[in-house]
């Protein structure tokens, strides 16, 4: 019999959508925690900044590393967006069908998907802004520089929206990944699903609390210091110098 030639693309696209989503979700989990170092102390956040600039590895600060990371994450972000947009309602008819269906069914997982579409759509725009600024101004990260961006450069409201959308999207996405691929489903899928759903909701609550607290802290610093002349945080222990 002639060996059939199959079109592997649909499988690749599906797999890639899941993998890029997984990478981004794991990245966000780390990102928000590193950023929350400001809750420990200004000094702690400063040291995390130095670490990402390679200071502890090379003895010198290279903000270019942050640019590189932003570009890499940005690429995965665009790829994921492009793959995921295939699933969006493509017309008013489709949009109306799915919203009416979800409303009628009062079904949690269908509603979760709607949240994914809405938060994903939001992030096309606000996520892009954030990623580009991180790529173009990697040196402006630090206890004072970041606070200046949040308060004086009015990024606060954007970060607020980004935080809510990215945290929901990431953890709902991870839950959906587990369902989609049967990850650790065990003998009783009802049980594992309940467990994953609980985990998802707890993580969303936790990360939103941590994220909002950090954002509040940056806002507080920004409002209580005059940073308009480009004043930088000065560490009493590490003398890494200006860029």
């Amino acid at each position: 019999m002639r060996k059939k030639k199959i079109d592997k693309m649909p499988a690749r696209l599906d797999f890639l959508q899941s993998t890029t989503g997984l990478i981004l979700a794991v990245f966000i989990m780390g990102h928000l925690l590193f950023e929350a170092s400001i809750l420990v102390s200004d000094e702690m956040m400063y040291r995390v900044t130095l670490m990402f600039e390679g200071y502890y590895f090379f003895g010198e600060r290279y903000p270019g590393i942050v640019s590189f990371l932003a570009a890499a994450i940005g690429t995965i972000f665009v790829l994921h967006a492009g793959l995921a947009v295939r699933k969006f309602p493509a017309s008013y008819r489709e949009y109306k069908t799915i919203t009416e269906h979800t409303k009628r069914m009062k079904h949690e997982d269908s509603s979760l998907w709607m949240i994914q579409v809405i938060t994903g759509f939001m992030m096309f725009f606000i996520g892009s802004v954030h990623l580009y600024i991180m790529f173009s101004q990697p040196e402006n990260i630090g206890p004072f520089a970041s606070s200046y961006r949040v308060v004086d450069e009015l990024m606060g409201p954007l970060y607020f929206m980004l935080l809510i959308s990215v945290v929901s999207h990431a953890f709902i996405g991870l839950y959906r990944l587990a369902m989609k691929w049967g990850f650790m489903e065990g003998e009783d899928t009802k049980k594992s699903r309940t467990m994953f759903k609980f985990l998802m909701k707890s993580m969303i609550a936790l990360y939103i609390i941590v994220g909002l607290s950090s954002l509040a802290r940056y806002t507080y610093i920004g409002m209580h210091h005059d940073l308009s002349d480009g004043k930088r945080y000065e560490s009493k222990t590490v003398q890494a110098g200006e860029h």
């Binding site: 059939k4 079109d7 489709e94 269906h101 009062k106 079904h107 997982d109 269908s110 959906r176 989609k180």
Partner: protein
């Protein structure tokens, strides 16, 4: 003995006869007295007997076996014969399942749709007929595998998973859980000699398993509690494996 007063149920039904050019879809409400152990099937018969004998709805077995009486109960697809009225609020809304051809009122033609699906997916054992020896004993199968296959064979094609799936509502070309469940059933069966590539050809696309958006409506409304979530995940893994292997 204290006599409890029975509730009065208000049942609103979406009525429409597509064969009557003057008719249009409209809601009609009926009030009936609830009886102990009453199912929606009993309630509907009560309405037909005492209120309106033109009401159309399907039933055969009355015991959740045939899958004929599927309908939207308060917006969710389920079998009327297995729904106890005492578990619902006194105001109940009934509508026919979407997507299927409407015969009238709550009666739908699932059979036609299911037949098309079965023909498209060729839901029967594929063997090499030329090599088939009817005198030989059939190959033995592990009891656990036989159970797993039997479990999936319990599907009654009621259409609830189709009506509960947002994806197929939006994109009617999507195979849906009923079809994917059948594909999983034959994929598991060692007597079916279709190759991985042939299976991939059938459902390795966006109308097949990769079209599934994991809304899990199918899993949550299936009146037979079939492991749809788990079997769709199984097929997704198998299809990706096939694509990555060759």
């Amino acid at each position: 003995m204290s006599e409890e007063k029975n509730r009065v149920l208000t049942i609103s039904i979406l009525r429409f006869d597509p064969h009557d050019p003057d008719d249009f879809p409209h809601m009609e409400s009926f009030e009936i007295e609830e009886a102990p152990g009453m199912t929606l099937f009993v309630a509907l018969n009560e309405i037909r007997e005492h209120h309106d004998n033109s009401l159309k709805f399907d039933f055969v077995c009355r015991a959740g076996i045939c899958g004929s009486c599927s309908m939207l109960v308060n917006g969710r697809p389920t079998l009327a014969c297995r729904t106890l009225t005492k578990k619902l609020d006194p105001h109940i809304t009934l509508a026919p399942l979407p997507l299927f051809e409407l015969i009238g009122d709550l009666s739908i033609y699932t059979g036609k749709w299911m037949r098309g699906l079965n023909e498209r997916l060729e839901t029967w054992i594929h063997d090499k007929e030329s090599e088939l020896n009817v005198d030989a004993l059939e190959e033995r199968m592990e009891p656990a595998l036989a159970d797993e296959i039997y479990e999936l064979d319990r599907c009654v094609e009621c259409g609830c998973c189709v009506a509960g799936c947002g994806t197929i509502q939006m994109r009617p070309n999507f195979t849906g859980a009923v079809g994917l469940n059948k594909v999983a059933r034959y994929h598991l069966d060692p007597r079916d000699k279709r190759s991985d590539a042939e299976y991939y050809e059938m459902i390795g696309n966006e109308d097949g398993v990769f079209g599934c958006m994991t809304l899990l409506g199918c899993e949550d409304v299936c009146p037979k509690d079939l492991p749809l979530q788990s079997k769709i995940a199984y097929l997704r893994r198998m299809m990706v494996k096939t694509a990555l292997k060759d």
